[in-house]
Symmetry: C2
């Protein structure tokens, strides 16, 4: 291996700011969702299902959409089934497997919690950035997202 | 509660770009560390200890530094002890508890792996941003980090 190219001060500051921001923000959003007996992981599943046709997704697609392993998602869905937020359904006509389906209670939960969650996201992130900063963030990160998606 | 202020398109794009970037990047960095039989969580602990005086930290400080619960850190440290990377040490003179201490093997591991990890961080993140973008990222995120730290 060639001599390591250690990060410069500018690079180090940006990289550490990204990491710290993310961890602290997720911790905060998770805590504010606890009031509604949801975790941030629960919320993400509810959003994905609520935005899908018939409020259902194939488990493998839901694992892809939430960027986690099939086995981790399976545990997550089991916990949410126990809470009455989702149910699993097997599709007879489709051997590609099981679906996760939002229940009526899951739908009512996301309707009720979403206004509070968006207020949290505003208070601790979005409203602290100018429109220019938001545009720059999108312009900086979206090409990297595309790069990383190709590697999966 | 007042009428929800849903995110605008600009806000939504930036927020989703941040979330997608983070998940995909962590997934990638974690995968590239697997070659060295480390997880990203292991790596973060090794970095923190290797940068501390005498390569040791009080468990409570290490939990703060890595922004996780004391109980989750405890499991993490147990796994790393089993791999010979760290040891726990009780401090007789200090009732504030246990320290995590980097072993010689842990020190050699971080020395060996760091050049590869920094190359990954460059390839999938830092080298894909201009110096201006890195400065903007730091300027945007650091004040939010300060805000969130105050809430902990």
């Amino acid at each position: 291996m060639n001599a390591p190219r250690w990060l410069t001060d500018t690079e180090q500051r940006a990289w550490r700011a990204h990491l710290a921001l993310h961890k602290l923000l997720m911790h905060r959003l998770d805590r504010e969702l606890q009031e509604f007996e949801l975790s941030l992981n629960d919320y993400e599943i509810l959003v994905n299902l609520s935005e899908s046709p018939e409020r259902r997704m194939r488990m493998s697609d839901l694992a892809d959409a939430t960027i986690q392993s099939r086995s981790r998602l399976s545990h997550q869905i089991s916990r949410m089934e126990a809470k009455g937020l989702v149910v699993r359904e097997d599709c007879r006509d489709d051997r590609r497997g099981t679906f996760a389906v939002l229940t009526q209670q899951g739908w009512e939960t996301i309707q009720r919690v979403a206004p509070h969650h968006v207020a949290s996201v505003r208070e601790h992130f979005v409203d602290r950035l100018t429109d220019d900063q938001l545009d720059e963030l999108d312009a900086a990160y979206t090409p990297i997202v595309e790069h990383l998606k190709k590697l999966r």
